[in-house]
């Protein structure tokens, strides 16, 4: 069953603040094998003009993914997550995420389209810091593949 287009424009409540820790950034940088000292060495980060270590550009997905769970698990929307693949992902940064940030994400459904029987859902996450200042916008498309076997709905 196609997703209900009346969900376009729906905005979910902001997430509880996520506290970004130095060790979490270190763990993430190690997991992607990235030795950039700005991620682990406070002095190196300060030399670049940052108040503390910064996170790699794709780190905000850690927050965006948790926040998007509100959409994925919305019983009224009825997305079948077992059919969902990540179609594309974009980030637009005002500044990098950094250690000490308290970040909250407000998720909205920007678009719902039907393409070749697949539902394509565009989910935007606005990430702001404790002062309400914009840090990064995440835009992801989720593609829910159509039921392709006879009798499957």
């Amino acid at each position: 069953m196609p997703l209900d287009p009346s969900f376009i424009g729906r905005t979910y409540p902001p997430t509880e603040p996520y506290e970004v820790g130095r060790e979490k950034i270190r763990e993430f940088a190690a997991a992607i094998g990235d030795a950039n000292p700005a991620y682990t060495d406070v002095e190196a980060a300060k030399a670049l003009g940052h108040p503390d270590v910064v996170a790699p550009p794709t780190f905000p997905f850690v927050l965006g993914f948790r926040a998007a769970a509100q959409v994925i698990n919305d019983p009224e929307l009825g997305l079948d997550y077992s059919r969902v693949v990540h179609g594309d992902q974009k980030f637009a940064y005002t500044r990098p995420v950094r250690a000490g940030d308290l970040l909250s994400v407000t998720v909205s459904i920007d678009a719902i389209k039907s393409l070749a029987g697949n539902d394509v859902l565009t989910v935007r996450g606005e990430v702001v810091d404790a002062g309400g200042e914009h840090v990064v916008t995440s835009i992801m498309t989720l593609v829910a593949r159509a039921a392709d076997e006879a009798g499957e709905e």
Binding site: I32, A38, V54, T58, G87, D88, Y93, I139
Partner: protein, 140 residues
């Protein structure tokens, strides 16, 4: 040692890199990112949902490709926009070798305010795994 805007032109190539991916890499990335979807670590599950084998997290591949840009500019904050489309999965066999993601990138456009658009190409086993992979980077 920051890259200066007046040093680059359309067509300037960034140093290419190859990134190895094993099952251990994927388990480590799952833990760090919180994305525990079993298609990224459970072969039986991956086959059941129609995949050829365990596949890498798209976001892992996106993170590796970004390293070509951030290693070039030095300061990760220089990246002001970054986007990719996940076109093909990176298949990661459990053979002790795994897969390799090859990433090339070049300056595709000069923009205002000392910014440039960098277009990236990421392949694995000769297949393009990212589409429309682009970063906007502010240079010195």
């Amino acid at each position: 040692m920051a890259v200066r805007f007046d040093e680059v032109q359309v067509g300037t190539e960034l140093p290419a890199q190859s990134f190895p991916v094993t099952r251990a890499t994927l388990v480590q990335y799952a833990g760090a990112s919180g994305d525990f979807n079993p298609i990224h670590w459970n072969e039986k599950f991956a086959l059941e949902v129609g995949l050829p084998d365990v596949i890498a997290h798209g976001m892992f591949t996106m993170a590796e490709a970004a390293r070509v840009v951030t290693d070039w500019v030095g300061d990760p904050a220089a990246v002001v926009e970054y986007g990719v489309r996940f076109t093909k999965p990176v298949v990661v066999p459990n053979d002790g070798v795994g897969a390799t993601v090859e990433v090339t990138a070049k300056v595709a456009a000069l923009l205002e305010d000392n910014r440039v658009r960098v277009d990236l190409v990421a392949t694995s086993e000769g297949q393009k795994v990212l589409g429309m992979a682009r970063a906007v980077v502010r240079l010195g």
